[in-house]
């Protein structure tokens, strides 16, 4: 049987949360935590 097209929803990469955020250029605490004003202070 000829192959059909297969589309990788994550581009063929097993990205963890922290990899995704790093690629997005986010500089969050512990990779995925957003601080509010008080915490940031």
């Amino acid at each position: 049987t000829p192959r059909v097209l297969e589309y990788d929803v994550d581009g063929g990469r097993d990205l963890d949360i922290f990899d995704i955020n790093e690629e997005a250029g986010l500089n969050l605490v512990e990779g995925d935590i957003e601080l509010d004003e008080k915490q940031a202070r």
Binding site: T1, E6, D10, D16, I17, F18, L26, G31, K38
Partner: protein
Amino acid sequence: NSIIGDQYRWPKTVPYYFEDDLEINAKGVILKAFEQYRLKTCIDFNPWEGEQNYISIFKGSGCFSSVGNRHVGKQRLSIGTNCDRIATIEHEFLHALGFWHEQSRSDRDDYVTIMWDRISEGKENNFNTYNDTTSSSLGVPYDYGSMMHYSKTAFRNGTEPTIVTKIPAFADVIGQRMEFSDNDLLKLRRLYNCTRSSTFLDTCDFERENICGMIQGPGDQAEWTRVIQAPGGPNTDYSNMGKCTGSGYFMHFSTATGRPADTARLESRLLYPKRGYQCLQFFLYNGGGANDQLVILVREYDEAHPNGTLRVIQPIYAPPQDLWQLHHVSLNVAKKFRVVFEGIKGDAPSTGGLSLDDINLSETTCPDHVWRVKNFSHVMETTPNNKPIYSPPFKSREGYTFQMGLYPSGKEGYPGELSAYAHLVTMTGDTEVRKWPCPWKQMTMMLFDQNPDIMRRMNNQRSVTTDPTKKLNETSELFFWDDPLKVGVEVSEADGTKYFRGPGAGTTAYLTHGRAKSRDFIKGGDAIFLLTMEDVSHLTVTQPVPSSTMPPVTTITTAILPPTDPCTKVTCGNEGVCVVDAENAVCRCAVGDDWWYYGENCQYLGSTQDTMTTALIASFSVLGGMLVVTAVSVVCVKRKYKNSGGVGDRGITMSNVSV
């Protein structure tokens, strides 16, 4: 580990708002994540109805959240591209509910070694710990299996791990993003004082002699018995597969004796439904005669029928074979009830009977289809890399046919992985009218963790959604999810069936072989995939906003609001929300612990520091004013006495006066 402080807790029912920018697939997976919270904890989620604080879920540039309830009104939680996995979403919501990462707890150095020289420069602060006055591990031991734990590769600068577990067996366990671990659930239940979960009803593996409060039904001629082996099979139970001597019980109804049409009823304890729909799941072994049958009924109770009335749900089709078969039955019960397993002896000869094990009942929807891959360990080891196997085509509730493609040894370049794709299918000769390209159907491929207890399962699942506007590729005029007759290839199965298989969507990295061999993903040698196709087109519309409030102007256009709403003319800045008070639109501004916005449109920022400054200035002004008044008074009095020259005692002789 959790952030200490009651102010960080949400109410047990958390209000949420789906922002319009969220992907449809992400919305569907978020709803699945909520269902896991409802099943396994007492946390529930409700669409925002105007509560002061709510979680706004939006598509940011990544996956992130704040820790705990920050009391800011609209609290952001981002589910961006590639974040639409159930475990990622559950992870972010655990943050929002008040949890930090597991390896930041104060005692982590007892359990893992941080390899500081392997961490990318400037990223070391991601490995800070919180002391036990800031965070609490809630009396739960360090959890390598937590879905809040970093993986061993987190923030590394090369190829070597940044986190080394002190017990080597856990090196590849950390960083699992499949489902809640037992300890994740324990901590969440402790933090929120859970006494029961929202949608769980019952589980039973028959290991205990009380058989989970089940009873032998009245009006039958035979009994179910608790055994560890049955003549005619099975030789072991399903929960333990006979691994533990002295345990491994299941319930058996022997049809080797008795008369045809004899029945044996096994009834669950009394159950109290809330939702009105349930999924009953159980394993059945038919080692009896060809006509022996199991029928699922419910006994419903109300004031008019205090002894209950029986209602047949459905007979189970389970031909005799040497196999524990997985079955799902959808129930629709809205009043107090028992589930009834009725075994009926057929008229064919039998040397065995019917057996039941690992029963679970929850107020959830059932999966649509079961694909069992026999001898899966062998399949993983022997299938060449880049060679797929396919499930049978399954028909969805809306009439579409689909199937799962699985690469047991991964796609090319991904050895040691399971790769998985979902395909639409059109059967040859199928003339049913459907809409093409297929609009907004979410296909979920779940590798079933066959733990006997539904609460302890860590199923591995991925979902893809058919976007009818998606093109086959950048230059094509064809649509990806169009009729497979048009965009697929013809397939001929060994049994002679023919169909067209459309393009697939999925992932090369569905699950590693290491993880697939862990837990109960493979039991008795077999793996079970649960496949579902659901309509998610209702998620393409904007979530209604509460009638008396308007969401922040950055995310919702005023066009969707009724024209008479006074809030349409008011813009509240700085994430304030507009409410209607006595038919007037007023802004309710965002506030924090020591800061707040104020003004007609929340345009000013205030803080406790400002208040203190104001108070000090006011105090000094008053003090200064008083000093001036005192000084003026003294001067005036002095002048007065100076001018009068001592006339004050005129005419009075001061003699013989004692004071």
